[in-house]
């Protein structure tokens, strides 16, 4: 398996070391057990099962975290106020992923979006309705949650986001 390679001719290196040998090896990086705190998450996950959205508000800077955060990094204060969050939101930013379908092998163009819910001050990774053409996606696009039919665990209840009518005045400008 080993392969010999000749060094390129370069005047500034010692000439004595002219050959390398390649040895294949593998670095098995074990499996990890990451720890994280979910105490503050429980009301949020419970509400998701009832198809309701809640966020945690910092009592110092009034920032709303969705999903909730244990400590507000700005104020070093424990957010403790639960607030309701509307189902509507906006595309904060997006990209298009070009991934091959594992079964058919054709390239799927799917927009990946970060959605900012209307009442929250954070963004969350999500996906758009498969009916939307990726070319129609733009920043500031108004969205509404499409809930999954059967109730599942946590964020899985949000199947995707549906677009709703955009009534903003500078729509053409936005789409640029």
């Amino acid at each position: 398996m080993s392969k010999r390679t000749e060094r390129k001719d370069m005047d500034y290196i010692k000439k004595e070391y002219i050959k390398t040998r390649t040895m294949p090896a593998s670095w098995y990086l074990s499996s990890y057990k990451y720890k994280f705190n979910i105490t503050h998450m429980q009301p949020f996950l419970d509400k998701l099962k009832e198809r309701k959205l809640v966020g945690l508000q910092c009592s110092s800077c009034n920032q709303v975290f969705f999903p909730p955060r244990l400590v507000c990094g700005q104020c070093m204060v424990k957010p403790d106020r639960w607030v309701d969050i509307r189902e509507t939101g906006q595309v904060a930013t997006f990209t298009v992923s070009y991934l091959k379908d594992p079964e058919t092998g054709e390239v799927l163009e799917r927009p990946m979006v970060l959605v900012r819910p209307d009442d929250a001050d954070t963004v969350l990774l999500s996906q758009l309705s498969p009916k939307i053409d990726f070319k129609d996606t733009y920043i500031g696009m108004p969205l509404k949650i499409h809930w999954k039919d059967e109730i599942t665990e946590g964020l899985g209840n949000i199947e995707y986001y549906d677009p709703i009518d955009d009534d903003s005045e500078d729509l053409e400008l936005r789409k640029d």
């Binding site: 670095w27 969705f66 955060r69 700005q74 992923s97 070009y98 954070t122 733009y138 946590g154």
Partner: protein, 415 residues
């Protein structure tokens, strides 16, 4: 008050996608030799301490500094290692600066080395492990695995950069052509730099736009390569520097600032930074470093900038966020040639990270190249005299920024 620090030399190894002709220690020694070649009076005995760094997960050899000590010339000398992801090189440079400025007895001359031989390992594995802890939380919260895997393969560094790119393009109303123009300038500059990786002297905007998308709006022709390479930089005190070389470069300000991560929030929470192209860390670091260096008008006082830009939109972002240009005017500057080699404020004349990206070494190559431009020893030397230059690094979860301000005159305002 710390001592004034000077850079007397910087050296590079040759960069390529596969440096299979050398082993990792040899790659490092190439850069060290090239660095010491510029200062004939300095031998290994004159170097008092060493700082080095790379990203071990990218090449599959953990703690490499322990077995390549001899190749750096660091036997029986103080050796320090720092690793901070994409900014490893920038942090290595800052650690070298701290070593000298601290004024420890017997430590005057410090060699900073950063290296990466990516062809040895699987960079994707290393990159995935950077955010794996955060991403796995989203999975346990119930986010379907296919969405997460799409984020990863849409993916890793390019995934987050494409979010930045969409936001930046929306903000400054530019097209992909403007992005391609940055790439063309970089790759053409790289053709004149002996150590650069992707040398394309005849690249045109059409050729870049002809390549397929990797992740909208970034195309294959726009993204950085994965290189093997190393870089070394020699720091010393003001007094010793005058004996070592003709034009010492003085380090007048350093900063390393972290801010809220974008895209992925802490502990599975939402990310607090709504606009990933708005890099508050860069603004803060330029405030700190320019304040130390006594620079009030960066646009007028800085003659040369090396920014860390694996993707073209980042180069446009950084020059704005670091205060070199007004917001959203950077694309115009690239179009009118202000940032070209013979322009008013040349940017990345070595080709930048866009043309050469040995991840651990990249952020050290920025201040190294910026210092060589002041010395007049860079291989793609700008025609005008460079008095003040900056070297910038970016990494972490979209949030860590390092900055080093260098000048041909020592800063005496507050020292």
């Amino acid at each position: 008050m710390g001592r004034q620090v000077a850079i007397v030399s910087a050296g590079f190894s040759e960069h390529a996608s596969k440096r299979s002709d050398v082993s990792m220690p040899e790659l490092v020694s190439e850069a060290v030799e090239d660095c010491l070649k510029n200062v004939p009076s300095v031998g290994f005995d004159d170097i008092d301490a060493f700082v080095n760094g790379n990203m071990p997960a990218f090449e599959g050899s953990n703690i490499p500094e322990l077995w390549m000590t001899d190749w750096m010339g660091a036997r029986n000398k103080p050796l320090l290692r720092v690793t901070t992801g994409g900014t490893t090189g920038g942090t290595v440079a800052i650690a070298g600066y701290y070593n000298v400025t601290a004024g420890l007895p017997g430590i005057d001359t410090v060699l900073a080395i950063a290296f990466e031989q990516q062809s040895q390992g699987d960079t994707a594995v290393g990159l995935a492990s950077v955010a794996l802890g955060e991403i796995s939380i989203l999975n346990t919260l119930g986010l379907p695995y296919d969405q997460i895997s799409r984020l990863l393969s849409g993916g890793a560094a390019i995934g987050v950069a494409s979010y930045q790119a969409t936001n930046y393009m929306r903000k400054s109303k530019i097209t992909e052509e403007d992005l391609a123009r940055v790439v063309v300038q970089n790759r053409r500059n790289a053709a004149k730099t002996w150590w650069a990786h992707l040398k394309m002297p005849d690249l045109t905007i059409e050729q870049v736009l002809d390549t397929p998308y990797i992740s909208y709006p970034l195309r294959y022709g726009m993204v950085c390569p994965a290189s093997d390479g190393a870089c070394a930089m020699l720091f010393t005190t003001e007094e010793k520097a005058k004996d070592m070389c003709d034009i010492p470069v003085y380090v007048n300000g350093v900063a390393s600032v972290s801010n809220t991560p974008a895209i992925l929030g802490y502990d599975g929470s939402g990310a607090g930074q709504l606009d990933p192209s708005e890099q508050l860390g860069a603004k803060k670091s330029s405030d700190i470093a320019f304040g130390q260096a006594g620079i009030s008008f960066p646009r007028k006082e800085i003659d040369y900038a090396e920014v860390y830009s694996p993707f073209p939109n980042q180069e446009l972002m950084w020059v704005e966020q670091l205060g070199l240009f007004e917001e959203t005017t950077a694309p115009e500057m690239y179009e009118t040639g202000v940032t070209a080699l013979n322009g008013e404020l040349p940017v990345c004349c070595s080709g930048g990270v866009n043309s050469t990206n040995a991840i651990g070494a990249s952020a050290l190559e920025r201040p190294a190249e910026a210092a060589l431009q002041i010395m007049g020893k860079a291989s793609n030397q700008v025609p005008k005299t460079v008095h003040t230059s900056i070297g910038h690094g970016w990494g972490g979860s979209l949030n860590l920024v390092t900055l080093m301000v260098m000048s041909d005159e020592p800063q005496r305002k507050w020292r």
